[in-house]
Each structure stands twice: as C-alpha cells, then as structure tokens.
Symmetry: C2
Subunit: 264 residues, 2 copies
C-alpha cells in the first residue's frame, strides 16, 4: 500500500482539494483508495459527501481508542473509502498532549486495520501539531501542496525541517514524495517565478542524504479553476461535477503522474 500524507502548515493551499481529487482519480482508474480526514474542520469529509451524523464514529474515536478504523470507514464511491473527521478532533490536540507515544497512535491503528488498499491519502490540518505528526509517522511519503506565492518558499524550510526530524527520530522510511503546485495563476509572473524557485531548490537538494533528496516537483500544475471551488458544495469530486474542466484535466494528469512516478 502506498501511504501518503498531504501536508502544509500554510492554510488554504489546496491540501484538501488535492486529497479528494487525486483520491477520486485513482479510484476511477480502478485502484482501492482510503482517505483519512485528519483535519477537525472535516472539509475532506464534507467534500466527499460523507458528513458524519453524530452517531457515526470518526477518526477522533479511532485515535482515542473508542472504535476501530473499520468502524469509522465508509464507502463514498466505487473503490473509494473515507475515514471521516468531526469537530471532536479539535480536542485531540489537547487530549493527546500528554499521552506517551502520542505521535504513533495512527500508525498503530493502521497496523491493526484488517482491510487493504492500494493508496492511503491523509488530509492534514494547517499546522505542525500532533495530528500532522501522526500522519507523518504513519506514512511512507509526504506530498506538499504549495501555492506559488512568495510566502510559500518561506514556510517550506520549516516544513522540511519537521519532516527531517520525524524521519530521524520516529519514522526512518519517511520521504518527501513530491511538491504539488496548486492554485497556479497561469500567465502571472509571480507563479512562474516562485515555481522556478521551488524547482531549483529541489534540484539543489539532489544527492544529499535528506528525506527530500529525491523529491520532485510534479510536472502537473493545478491551475486556478472556479469549478474546483464549486464541486465541494455538491459533495462531489471534480470528475463527478465538471468532468471536462481544467480542474478535472489537471487532477487526472497529476494522478497519472503520481501512479507512474514520472517527473522524477
């Protein structure tokens, strides 16, 4: 199983939109995909049309040992399952703060999971707290969505530092799989310049012994496209909502790139 945490502490850069639409694209191509929504805002859960009724167990109940992963997971489409989030999860940061081994709870629960998938995609909140750490400890790869704006570069080094620390102390197999340029304002100089800076940054990192030494910036850029922002209001992926839009085209292409590992 390829397990991927989609993270960036910067807000509103396309983490959720990427998890939902890459997950949907992979599922459409016949792969079994499980999405875990690790954000108390539960936007991936809503976006996939799976908003939890109060009695439905969420990832919160799994992390606090009240339910197993299987009991919190629901199928939302062919080949596509989601373990939803709920508001309760906001309490997790405080409740888990003093639990020994608190960064490895999700990894342990996944270890006990009886179902198998081809892809596991974890949607992280905009922070580097205990929820994101649980994702980083549980997976083999990280994808970082980035909006090609100036401040994106500034946050990147802190992000990589966090990945490096987790790889060194808690999860030696963790690697940065790639950077996804999202919300790309085509035809603006800013997007082109920042994207170029990001590409050069990772080219310079090659051959070192860091967890991002083999990281790539995916060739596919996700262009800004209002359809991507409209789809969540119908609880649909971009492929259900606007199949021939730029947004669908770009995420379909990105999913193919992820599958083949091309762009490396």
């Amino acid at each position: 199983m390829r397990s991927i945490a989609v993270m960036n502490q910067k807000g509103g850069v396309g983490k959720t939109t990427t998890v939902v639409n890459v997950g949907a694209a992979l599922a459409e191509s016949g792969l079994r995909v499980c999405v875990i929504d690790l954000d108390p805002q539960a936007h991936a859960t809503l976006h996939l049309g799976s908003d939890l009724r109060p009695e439905q167990p969420s990832i919160y109940h799994v992390l606090t040992g009240q339910h197993r992963l299987e009991e919190a997971r629901r199928q939302v489409a062919d080949n596509l399952w989601v373990v939803g989030s709920s508001l309760d999860l906001a309490a997790a940061e405080t409740e888990l703060a003093s639990v020994a081994g608190r960064e490895a709870i999700l990894r342990d629960k996944l270890g006990e999971d009886s179902q198998t998938f081809d892809y596991l995609l974890i949607d992280c909140p905009p922070s580097l707290g205990i929820l994101t750490l649980n994702a980083l400890v549980a997976v083999g790869e990280v994808f970082i969505p980035l909006q090609p704006h100036f401040l994106a570069l500034h946050g990147l080094s802190k992000l990589l530092e966090t990945i490096g620390r987790v790889a060194a102390r808690l999860n030696p197999r963790l690697k940065l799989g790639g950077v996804v340029l999202c919300m790309y304002d085509a035809n603006t100089r800013l997007a082109a310049e920042v994207s170029q800076d990001v590409v050069e940054f990772f080219q310079a990192a090659r051959g070192q012994s860091t967890p991002w030494a083999e990281a790539t910036v995916f060739q596919t850029r996700i262009r800004r496209n209002i359809r991507l922002a409209e789809a969540p209001s119908f609880g649909q992926s971009i492929f259900q909502y606007a199949r021939s839009s730029n947004g669908a085209e770009d995420y379909r292409e990105l999913a193919a790139e992820i599958r083949t590992g091309s762009g490396r």
Copy 2:
C-alpha cells in the same frame, strides 16, 4: 483605542493580507496603528519588512513574560508599529497549555503597555487554539475575512460559536465587528452566491442577543489581484508596492469603511 482581532480558523482566506493592508491604510490616514502578529508562521511580520533577527524579542517573549510589549515592538512606517512573531511561538500552544488564566495573558500585557494607539490589529493563525483565544479575550472587536467559497459558510457557525463562548465567559465586551469578503473572484457565480448567503445570514441574526447581532458584511469586497500576492516579497504594503492597483483601491476603501463604521 479600537482593538480588533482578525481571525478565521480556515487557512489562506486573507487574514494576514487584511491586517497588513488595513493597518497600512489607517496609518497613511494619520492614525497610530499597532499590529500584533500572533501567528507562528510570522507572515505579517515578514510582510511588513520586520523579520526578526534572533536577538529581537517577539510576541512569544512577551507572552512568556520574558520581555514587555514595548521591547518587542518596532516601527516599520509612519504611524505603523509591529510586534513581530517568530518560530518560537509554535511552542506557546504547548507551553501555555497548563498555565492558569492562559487565555488572558495578552490582555494583561496590553494592560501594562505604556504606549497608546488609535488602532490595534491582531493577526491570528488558522486555528481556534490558545493564541487565537488570547486575541479574542484581549480585544473589543473581531473581523472575519472570508473567501466566498462553499466551505466558508460551513466554518462560520463554529467560529461564531467560539466568539459566543469567549464573550459569555471571558470577555463580555467582545463583538463581531464585521465580515470581510476577500479573494473575491469577480464575475464568478460562486462568489456572488456565497456572498449573498453570508449577507443573508447576518441579516437574519439582527435583533438577537448574540455578539454578532449587529455585525455587518463590509460593502467593500477585496477582489483577487495578483499585486496583493506580490507585495509581501518586497516587504511592502500594497500602497508602497502598487498604489493604483485594484488591491490598493479595495483595501483603501475597506479602511475608510472601517473608520466610519459605514455599511452598518
């Protein structure tokens, strides 16, 4: 002094851009403005060209009692001061977790502040944790920047709930001053529809006894404008960087609306 927390747990909706450019506009009109950067990402600090050298005290040192506000504050332009943030602040959430009265620390420090200002603007991180709570307890008003996308409505009720709880238990004078529609994609149906939903929501709330009963949606919408995203890379407000852009026009207009309290 008019003290305003600019908050929204949703990421990337324009909190920082609004704090920096409204602050700069108010300062240009002759008012004394103090910005407090309460986000560990320190984007407001960077944007105002005030990135902290390691020896410079930040808001972290103020909250942990190591320095006074005056020692952490720097002037960045005529009439414009900033109390900067730094990476240390990320530790604050954990360090302050068990301190009694931890939500009132900023209010107490402001109470000890010897300098006076016309406006205090606090930039909050994308969360409802201890840092945002400190802002809500310390101020008289809240502004909520909103990107007119579907998920914006979903997060709004949780936000208002938080404001209501703080007003009830910790800060009786707290009011929602207004909602700022940011990153407005002009000519899209989605922006128009969500904006209309937000306006109707607050119209329906009038006459009740909630802290948002008199809240307004500011008439000024901040349109999407690439100049606003470019300005931070030069450490400049939009007025220094691109004075005649749509972004400058919109933020100038918003600052005027804030000053006159028009739109109510």
